[in-house]
Amino acid sequence: MKNLITATLMTIVTTILFGLLYPLVITGLAQVIFPDKANGQLIKRADGTVIGSRLIEQPFSSPGYFHSRPSAAGAAGYDAGASSGSNYGPTNQKLFDRVKADVEKLQADNPGARLVPVDLVTTSGSGLDPHVSPASAEFQVPRVARERGVSEDEIRRVVATHTEGRQFGFLGEPVVNVLELNLDLDEKMPMRK
């Protein structure tokens, strides 16, 4: 009985300490030291409208934009309120049907295209992967250049500024941030209407 009382008191006291005080103090510190990062690195237009987060993938399907990876988050994909992978197993027919359709579309949209880089036709674990590989960006350069009426090398120069190498030179993999790249293109070389 004494142990039951101790257990109850211990639950209450430690819940207040570790379940409330600790996260609230961390929230306070984070908001003061890293206000932008603690709030999700939102990208806003001049009028304050939120148009996305630099960490969260958005869908792009217009030919003048670099396309992001397919997404299984939410019913329509790219739902940052319902993150998810496809969870298709390696012998799932639905996986092959989806990849086949995507490969055919990508090869039709990017004439002269060769093998498609794997990340461009696979869904990410989160469904919100903000990046594509440099290979997937290069794959799309001719199409984007044609749509925007500029040379491929001009597009490549912009892609290069949004390509991040490995962190500290060796951690992770090289990536291209799709949303930031597309916003930069819209600013520097807007699409012809």
């Binding site: 008191l9 609230l24 496809s86």
Partner: protein, 613 residues
């Protein structure tokens, strides 16, 4: 497989080995009641907690009272978590105005989700049948779920320390005071590490706020085809069996927010693994950069590795601690190399479909379904191996989408008992059970009474050890077996057909019983059957194992020490590490090989032949 991938893996292992000693030494000091550099700040808090809860810190407990403390605390804290979930609709820190869990809003009736979550988080499992960002309020995440990440981890560390005391003490009736161990594990070990770790995570971009979810206006609005659903959420089908589609215009994106970093830190350090978001550590807000990913992986092993040093230190045989660590490293590398090889090869059926899966300077290649570009193959398999070696269960890639052999590695790691570094505390006491079995088998081979660090291992100890070893597969195979036999139980909820479907069910109960919490997540486990059976699997897998562990600890503490003789099998040599690895593999293989051969192994053969389901 790339040179850079191997470099990252070796760097990871080097850092783990480098922190083993300082971490272990610190833990030894804390539980020995010695003064540490944190005492000026934390000792007054510790004393205040004892005063508020009426704990006498000088009082020692027998193993039975220690076990009663563990069970009572777990019961009470589990009930509180259940209440918080059910009542979150009327509690504060709920900007999304989410209703209570399992309230009548659910279209599929009562599914016992709140019970499942309570059991799962109390047992350090963190299996999640719910989608966090659409289910749990910020209060439930902080004071319910993240709190249990602290509490269940501290219970695990306490149990490991109590077990080490049992080995180290001579002719003693007691093994420590549970309440004191619990408070010290939380206050001196977990809290300071989390504090620093959480802020480091924020610096990488992990969010930490209490604001409502944001809505972004899409740069390139979309028109998409989605499946039509009725009011209850069921997909509508045409008479010919195909699903009905409708077009939908998507102009906005909801961006979920929350106090993530504080929870992420304890989720990893306490080997809990329950994600703030559904996608867990694959979500860019939980794990935005390769460096945050590296820190999270280090956190999985940090305390488990340190405890092997604590073992050596407290038992006065430092080389024994290193010998146990060596066995862990061997098993870790074996799994890692297998998974890395399998995932880097990619999926042969995709290669035939015009997809480039080769590794190069501009892409990581390999099987990228369910993986993030910033992590690539190397960091995904490293995370998957570590999270299942330990009983963590966080994921930065979707194990369900791994190649058959790549996915078999996490499954096998859990089946071996999560003793490779292992969950905080639970990994070490699980490993020590296998140590006892190993010295017992070695004793049988030379025909001598087995000894472990001067303690004679007798029939009672071996019986308890065997109980520990047998309960685990019995629970997994029985639950999985029953789930497979009827669609109304389990097999209707699968996302994948063929042998992969069996793997999903097998993984679910292995993960639950092993208190891991990762999943082949295609399985729709938010049903009455799965929530109930998986909930009980987590409870049995935790508490039915803890009791024999403490019984062995109590029994060992009572024994006299006999001086080592020529016939004593030393537990400090490479030979011992080899025997330990062999015993673990033989026990695991004998138990689970038949089930594995029907799941991942046959799937691998079928995939190589180009067969799909």
């Amino acid at each position: 497989m790339t040179a850079n991938g191997w470099l990252q893996i070796l760097f990871f292992l080097a850092v783990i080995l480098a922190i083993t000693k300082p971490m272990g030494l610190f833990i030894t000091h804390v539980f020995g009641g010695e003064r540490t550099f944190l005492h000026p700040v934390l000792r007054p808090v510790e004393r205040l907690i004892y005063r508020l809860t009426g704990v006498d810190e000088s009082r020692e407990m027998r193993w039975t009272e220690y076990a009663a403390g563990v069970l009572l605390f777990s019961l009470v804290s589990m009930l509180l978590l259940y209440l918080i979930q059910r009542l979150q609709g009327v509690l504060p820190f709920n900007p999304q105005e989410l209703p209570g869990v399992d309230s009548s809003a659910s279209s599929t009736g009562f599914v016992a989700s709140a019970f499942n979550t309570s059991a799962s988080f109390t047992t350090n499992t963190n299996w999640q049948s719910y989608v966090p960002e659409t289910t749990m309020s910020y209060l439930t995440q902080m004071a319910g779920l993240a709190y249990h990440n602290f509490a269940s981890a501290a219970v695990g560390i306490s149990l490991a320390v109590a077990f080490i005391r049992g080995v180290a003490r001579r002719e003693s009736g007691t093994i420590g005071n549970f309440w004191v161990d619990f408070v010290r594990a939380n206050l001196y070990v977990l809290l300071p590490l989390c504090f620093v770790f959480a802020l480091l995570l924020v610096s990488q971009g992990v969010v930490q706020n209490l604001r409502p979810y944001d809505t972004a206006k899409l740069v390139d609005p979309q028109t998409v085809e989605v499946e039509r659903k009725d009011a209850a959420g069921n997909v509508l089908t045409n008479p010919d069996g195909t699903t009905q589609k409708e077009t939908q215009h998507v102009n906005e994106q909801t961006i979920a927010q929350g106090p993530v970093a504080s929870q992420e830190a304890i989720k990893m350090l306490g080997t809990n693994g329950g994600g703030f978001f559904n996608a867990n550590s694959a979500h860019p807000f939980e794990n935005p950069t390769p460096f945050s990913n590296f820190l999270e992986m280090i956190a999985i092993f940090a305390i488990g590795a340190g405890l092997t040093y604590t073992l050596g230190r407290m038992t006065g045989s430092q080389r024994h601690g290193w010998a146990v660590l060596a066995a862990m490293v061997v098993l870790f590398l074996a799994g890692l190399v297998t998974a890395y090889w399998a995932e880097a090869r990619g999926n042969p059926i995709l290669t035939r479909g015009g997809v480039d899966q080769s590794a190069s300077a501009v892409q990581s290649g390999g099987n990228m379904e369910g993986k993030e570009v910033r992590f690539g193959i190397a960091n995904s398999v490293l995370f998957a191996t570590a999270t299942t070696d330990a009983s963590c269960g966080a994921v930065n890639s979707m194990h369900d989408s791994y190649t058959p052999l790549g996915g078999m590695v996490p499954l096998t790691n859990i089946m071996l008992g999560e003793i490779i570094f292992g969950g905080v505390g639970s990994g070490l006491y699980g490993m020590l059970i296998f140590v006892i079995l190993s010295v017992f088998i070695a004793g049988l081979m030379v025909g001598r009474t087995p000894e472990y660090l001067g303690k004679k291992i007798e029939s009672y100890d071996v019986k308890m050890a065997m109980l520990y070893v047998l309960i685990f597969p019995l629970l997994i195979l029985a639950f999985a077996g029953v789930s497979v036999i009827s669609p109304s139980f389990g097999s209707s909820q699968l996302n994948n057909a063929g042998p992969h479907g069996l793997s999903e069910i097998l993984y679910a109960f292995t993960s639950a019983t092993g208190n891991n919490g990762s999943a082949f997540a295609g399985i729709s486990a938010n049903t009455l059957w799965y929530n109930t059976t998986i909930g009980f699997a987590t409870l049995f897998g935790r508490f039915m194992m803890i009791v024999p562990v403490l019984a062995v600890a109590g029994n060992l503490a009572r024994k006299k020490v006999v001086p080592p003789s020529l016939g004593t099998f030393p537990v400090t040599t490479p030979l011992f590490s080899t025997l330990l690895v062999s015993v673990i593999l033989i026990v695991g293989a004998l138990t689970f090989f038949p089930a594995l051969s029907l799941g991942p192994i046959v799937e691998h053969l079928l995939m190589s032949a180009g067969k799909t389901f």
